[in-house]
């Protein structure tokens, strides 16, 4: 289907199913219950999952395939956000031109940075990209304030021109972002018994774009272009002596991945029309690196998992306070309740960084291939269990598939 082999088609279908049913999957607990704290199925977080998924998918096209570790990718995300918000300020609240402009500007920006940075490889390349991104961040925060609104971030105001729309609504508010009339924040809530599920227009737009982005990345991974990129990572010398110039390949990968970042930035601004300078800081660039490695660099679905993992901790664990803990452990006798709260306390709420740090170390130590490897091990374990039942002959004489194209 769609130029994919059977395995990839299955993978794509799984991703589509996950994205479409996310409102159900992410809200497994009844909304009134103590465990509802772990529900992640509210519009903002679901949007963030897929948007950062797109960002990480794009980053993986560069890092996972070519091995070039960009430490400044957040700059493209930031540039994309700023372009989109400017589009909302000047043109209209429709998200389509904003997203397109975000991709174009991020693309142009990445041509510039990529062309210069790709003159070096290895850590020298990483530092060049880092330097460009940090310059962008520092300038956006200070002297470029007329364009970026500095510390606060670029916001919409009531006196923006919006030539193809209205400056203010009839009620006197700022109009909201929409996709040809469908408001991005429109949400329908479905109540089933004690459960409550949110279906948000913005989320579904992001999810559809994410599926498309995933499909494109899938095609790139399986294409001759993707093969060349992996060749760049594997042995540039040989590629050169095979008559191929690695530079256009790496630059093309850099630009594609920059445009993915711009797309993610544009979507972020479309869901919530504000562009903060922190989006370009090195910590933001570091975050996408961590997402990709955590999920499994070079794998198709890993970066998406990594993005979801980190965003989940940031948004769910940081909101657990002692009050919530006491609620959870309320069924225990007082002494035990307090002890448990005391023990869990350092890891939640303001301690969510600690939990994340520990998990980084555990995952990378015990699952060298990231979360994807965890999944593979799990499924292998399950399959072996089933095989033992069947007592069938071991068909393991196939040479191992390359881990780099594993899903």
């Amino acid at each position: 289907m769609l130029g994919l082999d059977k395995k990839d088609t299955t993978l794509l279908l799984v991703v589509i199913a996950l994205a479409m049913f996310a409102p159900f999957l992410l809200n497994p607990f009844p909304s009134g219950s103590a465990m509802a704290q772990f529900n992640a199925g509210y519009p903002d977080l679901m949007q963030r999952f897929v948007i950062f998924g797109i960002f990480a998918i794009g980053f993986n096209i560069l890092f996972g395939l070519t091995g070039y570790l960009s430490f400044g990718h957040a700059a493209f995300l930031g540039v994309g956000s700023y372009s989109a918000v400017w589009m909302f300020k000047l043109l209209s609240m429709n998200v389509v031109p904003a997203i397109l402009l975000a991709m174009v500007i991020a693309g142009l920006f990445s041509v510039l940075i990529g062309f210069v940075s790709l003159r070096r490889s290895g850590i020298y390349f990483s530092i060049l990209t880092l330097a460009f991104a940090q310059m962008s961040f520092n300038l956006a925060y200070s002297v470029l304030t007329p364009i970026t609104n500095g510390e606060t971030g670029l916001q919409l105001t009531l006196d923006d021109p919006r030539v193809l729309g209205q400056s203010a609504t009839d009620q006197g508010g700022i109009p909201v972002t929409n996709f040809f009339g469908i408001e991005m924040r429109a949400t329908h809530t479905l109540d089933v018994g004690a459960w409550s599920f949110d279906f948000n227009a913005g989320y579904y737009l992001c999810a559809i774009i994410m599926i498309f982005a995933f499909y494109i990345s899938l095609r790139i991974f399986r294409s001759p272009f993707g093969l060349m990129l992996r060749a760049v990572k594997s042995n540039q010398q040989r590629l050169n002596y095979t008559g191929l110039n690695p530079k256009p390949y790496t630059l093309a990968a850099f630009i594609i991945s920059g445009m993915y970042a711009g797309l993610a930035g544009g979507l972020m601004a479309s869901m919530d029309p504000l562009a903060g300078a922190e989006r370009m800081q090195w910590t933001a660039s570091g975050e996408v690196v961590l997402m990709t490695i955590l999920g499994g660099a070079g794998t198709l679905i890993g970066p998406v998992l990594g993005a979801g993992f980190i965003k989940y901790f940031e948004n769910i664990f940081s909101k657990i306070n002692d009050n919530v803990l006491h609620q959870w452990f309320a069924f225990l006798p007082d002494g035990m309740e307090d002890t448990l709260v005391f023990l869990v306390h350092p890891f939640v709420g303001k301690g969510w960084h600690l939990t994340l740090g520990i998990l980084f170390m555990l995952v990378v130590t015990f699952l060298p291939g990231g979360l994807v490897e965890g999944g593979q091990r799990l499924s292998r374990l399950l399959r072996r269990g089933r095989k033992d039942e069947d007592a069938g002959p071991d068909p393991e004489h196939h040479p191992k598939e390359t881990p780099h194209v594993a899903e």
Binding site: F63, R120, Y124, L130, A131, V289, H353, T365
Partner: protein, 343 residues
Amino acid sequence: MDAILLQILNGLDKGSAYALIALGLTLIFGTLGVVNFAHGALFMLGAFCSVTLSRLLTLSFETIDETKTDFLGNPMKVKTPYVEAWFGPETGAAIIDWAVPLSILFAIPIMISIGFAMERGLIKHFYKRPHADQILVTFGLAIVLQEIIKYFFGANPIPTPAPDVFKGSFDFGVLLGFDPNVIIYPYWRMVYFLFAMIIIGGVFAFLQFTTFGMVVRAGMADRETVGLLGIDIDKRFTMMFGLAAAVAGLAGVMYAPINSPNYHMGMDFLVLSFVVVVVGGMGSLPGAVLAGFLLGILESFASMTWVKSILPGIDQIIIYLVAIIILLTRPRGLMGRKGVMED
């Protein structure tokens, strides 16, 4: 002229902090081939050695002073440090006053042990792993170390003053024939600069003149060959990690009076120190030191008012701009060797 001299002094001082951190980072890069994102955290731990020691020295017992009241109107508890009770108020106060320099003795064994523990417990399993994995694991470690410090010491900066004798500043200008107050420089910053020079000199001498250092240098150049000679290079590399941790820690100890330490000071320095190391050239110790001072001085120049009036915001980006220019004109930084961390 005077303004330039002043900024050179500033640059040397900033540069010595950069150079010390970059030196340790390069030792780890060069010998172990590990990208250590936890190096900034080691610097931070060093600074908190000072904090811890001054906390220990000011451990106090409480007596109730009925004549005073606290903010709730209850009788005030007055704290007297044990050291003052044991050694008498004056000697005790003097010991507390010298907490930061004393921390050097305290920090060396602690930082070396932390370095050993880190290398043996974690880093050594990552020698053969891709750099990306090293980044992830050391970044995770840095966060954990930071959060532990935050848990015990809070997020607020903690004032850690230098001994009273080093308070105030020295008037260089008068020495050079300028008017008074034109070129003044704080005593403690001069101490820091001298201290940095001693540490840098010590590390170089150690690598240059001891057999241990010779083996390590050979190992930096070609690990496999040295391994073939039957030398247990791993053990030496563990010690190198301890040394690098100690250098970072000492840089932190002495830095505490310059800026009150807080739990995320390491992250603030991390990115900068990577830039310094790379600009210096991967695997080159002199390069790291040179780049540290160069960037420190350029950063100071960029903060001069007339420079900023020509190029607004230049002080925000100067380090990165210089890094870009250097890396584009010199492919391997100032003094980098070929083939180190280029893939």
